[in-house]
């Protein structure tokens, strides 16, 4: 198995000193080249799970294996795209994409530069190589972040609600771009979102997560050919199915929030 999450539990000690279980006994397998979405309401631990796979935190119990290797720390074999673009404002677009290549290509600057330009072309931003991030729109910044993650040639691309902060139109455009990039590169993508449409449109598989504690409640394969615009009706049908599964979870979250409001 390419990526194997087995028996993963993640607990935190809260400020009040109680133990909070963010994830409980998660089992998840991902095949090479798959586009898998982690979908769920806020508080289901989907971002926590992504961060465990990224190696940015460690599970309390269980293990995450990538090609049989246990993940214990972050590394350039896994590219991460965060909700904020996380570009370095003091570097140009070119230098940002170059940033992860500096050490790996120390002896081969020319190849590194070529690689940067190729990836900027892939996200259609090569004209902006010498711009600074603050001169770009949010959507453009996020495309640079995708180029930066892919330039490292990672085995796995982890995306944590990458389009969550963008407006609807930009989001639609970037869906198309991401789908194209995924088909061109054949990368395995793990995509965290709370947007049902987005998950159905992009994924081979949608892993639906529930809350209190965070767990996998359903694993749904989307068997629609791409591009999927033409199957609008089928997509709506699947979205409705997911909505039904998620309905109870969302009720739970809302009730929790309301009771918080009363007690607070």
């Amino acid at each position: 198995m390419f990526l194997q999450v087995s028996g993963v539990t993640k607990q935190y000690v809260t400020n009040q000193g109680t133990i909070f279980t963010a994830l409980q006994n998660i089992e998840l397998d991902v095949e090479e080249g798959e586009f898998v979405s982690l979908l769920g309401p806020s508080g289901c631990g989907k971002s926590t799970l992504l961060s465990l796979i990224a190696g940015l935190s460690e599970p309390t119990e269980g293990s995450v294996l990538l090609k049989g290797q246990k993940i214990t720390r972050p590394g350039s074999d896994r590219g991460v795209v965060f909700q904020e673009p996380a570009l370095f404002p003091w570097l140009t677009v070119f230098e940002n994409v170059m940033f992860p290549l500096r050490k790996k290509y120390r002896k081969n600057q020319k190849e590194a530069k070529q690689r940067v330009m190729d990836h900027l072309k892939m996200v259609q931003l090569s004209r902006f190589a010498d711009s600074y991030p603050s001169e770009l729109s949010g959507g453009m910044q996020q495309r640079v972040a995708i180029a930066r993650a892919l330039a490292m040639d990672p085995m796995l691309l982890l995306m944590d609600e990458p389009f969550g902060a963008l407006d609807e139109q930009t989001r639609q455009v970037l869906h198309g771009e991401l789908e194209r990039i995924w088909m061109e590169t054949g990368k395995t993508i793990l995509f965290v979102t709370h947007n049902i449409q987005e998950a159905v449109k992009l994924s081979d598989r949608v892993v639906i997560m529930g809350t209190q504690p965070g767990k996998v409640i359903s694993d749904m394969r989307i068997r629609l050919p791409r591009p999927r615009q033409q199957f609008r009706e089928k997509m709506v049908q699947i979205e409705q199915e997911i909505m039904d599964i998620l309905g109870q979870e969302i009720d739970k979250v809302i009730k929790g929030e309301l009771s918080d409001a009363h007690s607070g």
């Binding site: 003091w90 790996k104 603050s134």
Partner: protein
């Protein structure tokens, strides 16, 4: 109307009103001389180079003290930001020192270095170091965690992470620290020089006061203010603005 024109008109008006009031003989010239007298005195001081030498001496004290303050302040700030125990112990001391006006260290400086220029420089160093340290500390502590996370996923750790990500990310705070260190240093310098045996603008101010040359007193005060605003506007304000724009903290005007 361009801002420069507005300012020019304002200052010309100010001088005209001052001169007009002076001519009404409301007060004796020893209390406040006329702008013409002040202008003449400053011009003579500049022409016979006495004020120029004072100016050079003051700027030399300031530059030496300011440079030392930046070096110590930066290192101290990094230490406080990175080492928790240092922050919890030394940090509170630095905070206390920051609230002490640096001129109160003069007796100590005189005991150590005598009534020399070194004492003045020492006061300037104390004036700038702590504000630089506190800003550097804040800059490093406030680096957005997402930058660090992103860098870690790109195989950056240890010194590489520190120098390539944390240090550049803290530059906006550092620039504020530099600007404040200069301003605090400038104030400390004048206080120190007032009590020194020269050379320097502050010393000349004191000397002019002792000999009753009120025109020179006013002239030096104007000079001090002029240099302060000039360095702030031409160097530090621009530097800070450029950095804030580049770092995306302020939209380009």
């Amino acid at each position: 109307m361009p801002i420069l024109v507005k300012r020019l008109i304002f200052f010309v008006a100010l001088v005209v009103i001052w001169e007009g009031l002076f001519r009404l003989n409301l007060w004796p010239p020893t209390m406040l001389p006329s702008p013409v007298q002040v202008g003449k005195t400053v011009w003579m001081g500049l022409a016979d180079l006495t004020l120029v030498y004072d100016l050079i001496a003051s700027l030399r004290h300031l530059l030496i003290g300011f440079s030392i303050a930046l070096c110590i302040g930066t290192l101290l700030g990094v230490l406080l930001a990175r080492v928790r125990t240092a922050d919890e112990t030394l940090g509170i001391l630095v905070l206390a020192f920051q609230s002490v006006p640096s001129i109160v260290w003069l007796p100590l400086a005189i005991a150590w270095f005598g009534l020399t220029e070194t004492s003045v420089i020492f006061i300037v160093v104390l004036g700038g170091t702590f504000v630089m340290a506190m800003n550097m500390r804040m800059g490093i502590k406030n680096v957005s965690p997402v930058y660090i996370k992103a860098a870690r996923t790109m195989d950056y750790t240890g010194p590489d992470l520190f120098f390539r990500v944390i240090v550049p990310a803290s530059i906006p705070h550092a620039v504020t620290g530099i600007r404040l260190a200069w301003a605090f240093g400038w104030r400390a310098l004048m206080a120190g020089e007032l009590l020194s045996t020269g050379p320097g603008l502050g010393y000349t101010l004191k000397y002019a006061s002792d000999t009753g040359e009120m025109a020179l007193v006013i002239g030096v005060i104007i000079l001090i203010g002029f240099i302060g605003i000039l360095t702030d506007q031409l160097i530090f304000n621009r530097l800070e603005k450029n950095v804030l724009e580049r770092w995306g903290l302020e939209t380009a005007a």
